[in-house]
Amino acid sequence: LPLRFDWRDKHVVTQVRNQQMCGGCWAFSVVGAVESAYAIKGKPLEDLSVQQVIDCSYNNYGCNGGSTLNALNWLNKTQVKLVRDSEYPFKAQNGLCLYFADTHSGFSIKGYSAHDFSDQEDEMAKALLTFGPLVGIVDAVSWQDYLGGIIQHHCSSGEANHAIIITGFDKTGSTPYWIVRNSWGSSWGVDGYAHVKMGDNTCGIADFVSAVFV
């Protein structure tokens, strides 16, 4: 493993987005992982539609909440093609699902994995290098007040409640940390990102980790 790795350095991670007053972090994280997976495959990096996932993903509740696993399962089972964000823009509220013709261009997935990497964060780092940015679910109660630095206290792994994307890690300092993209806009945290201590499952970051295959 390298001491430091960040998929942003490869220009395969889209800009930080803002979920506004919509509880759709689960959709932002899954769509972000699909965007990066295609960019790693050599496709142009572009924003795909989060609103499509919020409106159309069954077994989820749109802006009232949802599960990354159910969203990945829906994408895989239905083989729905995610369209560009410009064609189905985010409006921070639930809406009726818009369907597109099969001939319409879009991005589907070939599969996904979902694992508990707790106590195996080095293996999780290898998975990150292998598959691209990972979808995670953390307990983000203390993130309400986060400004910067490495989260290593006040963040238990008790009750995961917020979906994010893990784009990299940095082990060069005395406290290794995961580089985590959030969906609360770029003014929050470190340019929209959080740094979470690596190695002892801080915030439960290794408990619910998914990778997308395209």
Binding site: D116, Y146, I151, N161, W184
Partner: protein
């Protein structure tokens, strides 16, 4: 509780926002006081969510559900080898 009221009543009174802000300032002082000398540890302070009570913040922004994920084991590598 407050979060349910928040969800239902929409716009919040100035007093409520002020009370939430005061609570946030106290919380920041507490969070930053515990490990002041630890280098590069997280810093907590005023941001776009400081006007919300924690329950209100959670009611809107922390809405991801979880289910049990299988423990990672070597099968992930075999899973990859089976991918087309």
């Amino acid at each position: 509780g407050r979060s349910a009221a928040f969800a239902r009543t929409g716009p919040r009174s100035r007093e409520q926002q002020a009370a939430a802000f005061r609570e946030s300032l106290n919380r920041h002082r507490y969070l930053n006081s515990l490990f002041p000398s630890e280098n590069s540890t997280a810093v907590y302070g005023i941001n776009q969510f400081s006007y919300l009570f924690p329950e209100e913040f959670k009611a809107v922004y922390l809405k991801s559900e979880t289910s049990r994920f299988p423990k990672y084991s070597a099968d992930l590598q075999t899973f990859i080898s089976k991918l087309p």
